[in-house]
Symmetry: C2
Amino acid sequence: MALSRERILEAAVRLADRDGIESLSMRRLGQELGVDPMSLYNHVRDKEGLLDAIVDVVVGEIEPAEVDTDWKSSLRETILNARRTMLRHPWAARVIESRADPSPSTMRHMERVMDIIRGGGLPLDLAHHALHVLGSRVLGFSQDLFDDSDGVPRDAEAAAMLARQLAGSYPRLGELAAAVTHEGGLGGCDDDVEFAFGLDLILDGLERLRTAA
Amino acid sequence: MALSRERILEAAVRLADRDGIESLSMRRLGQELGVDPMSLYNHVRDKEGLLDAIVDVVVGEIEPAEVDTDWKSSLRETILNARRTMLRHPWAARVIESRADPSPSTMRHMERVMDIIRGGGLPLDLAHHALHVLGSRVLGFSQDLFDDSDGVPRDAEAAAMLARQLAGSYPRLGELAAAVTHEGGLGGCDDDVEFAFGLDLILDGLERLRTAA
DNA sequence: CGCCGAAATCTACGGTGTAGACCTACGGCG
DNA sequence: CGCCGTAGGTCTACACCGTAGATTTCGGCG
């Protein structure tokens, strides 16, 4: 089977999915394909070019939303689709952020997003703000500062212990941790609902600004 | 002058500021300090430990907000202070995102943020949501998907050209680019006002949820 | 002085991306 | 058929990286 750009990209994505992005080296990739590492350079400018390319592949996997008269629903669906894609390739967010310029499929995605926003009747300046405030969320990044579904899900005992010890130096975070780890009120911390909560808060804010204008 | 952890960290931050984070290697850093690279390992576990440490230094530079009765103003000020710090160290955001756990000064910062939020009267569950929706914004990351102050600020001619060529494949982005590059309506694209816009939209949304509850 | 422990250094190993020379196979053409 | 240009695969080699492990240096103290 002849080496080809497509085969290289497919293998690269597979390797990153399986072993993590830090394991994606030209040598490992060549090995994966049973080929000399230098052969890859006939199909890809350099490693940066390879990363550009697999980002393009992954972003290209995002499904467009169904046509829908309601701009908020369409946008919501598009962004949740993006998030689903990024969850399938956990390394992708980091790599995308490290690219200087958006890839073609990223441009296509942004165009679709912008089309939904403008089609919904938001004026150009508000649409511009919307793109900024949504930020990397339009590509499905949850952009959480740190993972507070920590404390190991099932070990409620240890989690509560950690929350209590946290409370010594950081009382406010301690009470939060205690509550999140089920001991107190809000049960657990579902990333999906948090993502949706933030997204809806932003979309609602935008709509309010639209009707105000 | 004896080598010390403090001197190492200071030099590392300086080097990253000056030459970019990708130039920060143990060898380069040793050279910067006129010392054998291996000497650094007497004060730092390994390179990851070094990165952990300089993140902690940078986040520690964030100034707390003045005491203020208005939680929204205090939080706004804290977050804008964080942003100022991050703008001084453009590499920091990327490095912070690559850490698995928050550093001590990050914890302190989060504690202050949480204290402001809770002090403002937001119930615990809403405070939890708030931390998530603010995400990395609490550390001042603008998390823009790509830099749309592109097109080279001063070269309005070329920028308009680029906008027009963009309009071929991506009409919605094209009209946006045209407007942003001053030719149309909204003049330019100020990252600071965009950051503040998004922040205020989120803060206002949170306040509305608070009063609704 | 001698000794000890910590800090600094030296050497070396296995990894990285990739430049440049080399080889090889194949399609087109006289 | 023979030839040759070219595209793609391979080989070798270089400069860099992080760091393990052995070794040397040096300041303070008995």
